[in-house]
Symmetry: C2
Subunit: 370 residues, 2 copies
């Protein structure tokens, strides 16, 4: 018997920049010419059917003009496309076009595109670099920091994927204006979530400037883009691999994710999370972590934004309760919720543990109230 030691301790630097601005295609071209991903000249631009003509094609044209080798890979827009099958189709299309390991991926779109493209990049040729060009508020709020990439499966959302950091993220605020109103509103839920869990100041800013944000005023939009990055970053930095603290970012997502699935994606992710934030606020107030006034303030802000705070009638409540058990925070068969502590903080259930076990009966009661 003998032991052979494989020593693989090393310093890894996955640092990157998020650039927030207006019309950033030129900046992307400059960065690629400046060696953002080394000498790579071959790029797969991954996008969806909504964004293709609006942003992805113009970006491709400009990159081709600058001498890069570009192919565009578009899939049907929507969360329903975030599957292993779509990933496979993109991979096969890339292989078909001769893509091997000497390429990089540019994701142009919202959260579904960046989640999927980042996952493709993570396993294509055992990992090629990728860049996110975020064209939605939701992607700006949620997908820019954290390195989470994933797809959904029939049995669970976001459970197949990996942690993969982009080389750079562009948040192009110009693009928000072309989003359908419903998408903008939906995108606000992750922003409100960040305020709820991390910053009373940000919460009050949104309360005060909500109309400015929804009408894309420069200052208000830049403020929330930056605040989203700052809050998410402060959490992710301390817990990149989601061992503890990072679970706080799951605020509103226990019920939110389940509602999204049970609605069969009739509700957008952000809309479902609006209901999920409401659910945890009710729960938090019930358990004494928030005052009733604070609870009402959270729900009022969601409502003013245009987010749902009630379950649609077509949702089967018992199916929803059962669906909660597919949540990734479930441990030993027990439901666990992240809960707000007042506004701008979260409950630390025990040292380093932020997801609190909740009895099914209590969860059911809250769901019946929704």
């Amino acid at each position: 018997m003998s032991i052979f030691n494989v020593d693989l301790k090393k310093v890894v630097d996955d640092s990157y920049e998020i650039e927030i601005g207006y019309g950033l295609t030129n900046r992307l071209v400059e960065d690629l010419e400046g060696g953002l991903v080394g000498k790579i000249k071959k790029f797969a631009v991954v996008t969806d059917s909504n964004v293709r003509d609006l942003y992805a094609k113009p970006i491709c044209e400009q990159l081709i003009k600058s001498g890069f080798q570009i192919d565009l890979f578009a899939f049907p827009a929507g969360e329903k496309s975030k599957t292993r099958q779509t990933k496979e189709r993109i991979e096969d299309a890339m292989l078909e076009k001769g893509y091997r390991r000497d390429c990089a991926i540019i994701a142009v779109g919202g959260g579904v595109v960046t989640d999927l493209a980042g996952f493709v990049a993570g396993t294509f040729g055992r990992g090629v670099p990728f860049i996110n060009y975020a064209t939605t508020l939701l992607a700006a709020a949620d997908a820019s920091v954290g390195g989470k990439t994933a797809v959904d499966t029939p049995l669970a959302t976001n459970l197949i994927g990996l942690f993969n950091q982009p080389k750079k993220v562009y948040i192009d605020i110009d693009t928000w204006k072309t989003l359908p109103k419903r998408e903008v509103v939906s995108g606000m839920s992750e922003t409100i979530k960040h305020a709820c869990l991390g910053s009373l100041d940000m919460f009050e800013f949104i309360e005060e400037k909500l109309e400015d944000i929804l009408s894309f005023q420069k200052f208000a939009c830049e403020y929330i883009a930056e605040s989203n990055c700052r809050i998410k970053y402060s959490v992710v930095m301390k817990d990149e691999r989601e061992k503890g603290l990072r679970e706080v970012l799951n605020l509103g997502h226990t019920v939110g994710r389940a509602v999204e699935t049970v609605s069969d994606y009739r509700l957008l992710h952000g809309e479902a999370v609006g209901i999920g934030i409401t659910a945890q606020a009710l729960l938090s107030a019930r358990l004494g972590y928030m005052s009733e006034e604070e609870e009402a303030r959270v729900i009022a802000l969601l409502s003013r934004t245009g987010l749902p705070t009630k379950l649609p009638d077509y949702i089967d409540r018992e199916a929803l309760v059962r669906k909660l058990y597919t949540d990734k925070k479930v441990r030993d068969g027990k439901l666990r919720f992240v809960l707000q502590k007042g506004i701008g903080g979260v409950v630390e259930f025990s040292p380093g543990v932020y997801a609190r076990p909740i009895e099914e009966e209590l969860a059911r009661e809250i769901i019946m109230e929704l």
Copy 2:
């Protein structure tokens, strides 16, 4: 316009132990009880139809007896199972059985099992720990060091996957005895490859002790298990992500991989690599990097081992030439080969570059000679 810096520099320690011995199930149980993967109690044992009854089931029984929660996931044996579809089936079966992020995977089998299970582990719940229990000489030689996991696709072998280090590897030499003779011989090709590229001493040891190895004499088997780890490790350590030096491990694989695919897997991986090692030896001698005597010695050792050094008649030579272009070492549409320099070394084509561009015409000539 503003820039937000995401600073993600950190020290990562992916070190692990390889334990080489005889009948190591008890050691596995002891290690898990000792906290090898922390407090995890739930394990998915992934195996194939050949290994299931012979080793995976007894291991499962012993783990269950020790209080662990175990499920066995077996897929049909063979390289043809190394696909995204098999990965998906294992994932779905795990999700179905309630596996979430608080689990780990134990791969019990040869290289196909460890490649596939390591990939599943890398993306299940965005990464859960995994352990390899290697039951073939090939897995011991090839899959124990390096962290490469992958699946094949219709258009390319091993191009979808990731680098993922196991928590521990067990090389159970006892298991080699139950392998069919053809598998043992096939497994020797990666061992001979390591000797060819890294150690004249090891090459001479194999020349001298070949019969001892093939009859599983303790000293000879331990020597080659350790030498394989040592040579592969010395390469991988210097280039974990295959930027340059690590390509030397691809010796014999340019033609080998292509032959394997064009044979539609009638040839085992190791058999195909035997032909691939022969091909690069011919090429190396032709280009003056090896003497004719050295070339003959390499081919003689492959032959004595029982590995093929000639292409079977049914292989379409032109299809094989075309297939070479799916090799991952291809750059800018050019074939690139790793070549032996004498015995125990490789050609460094330019500083840090070990894959040498080869004209298609020359590659074709060599293939016609095979």
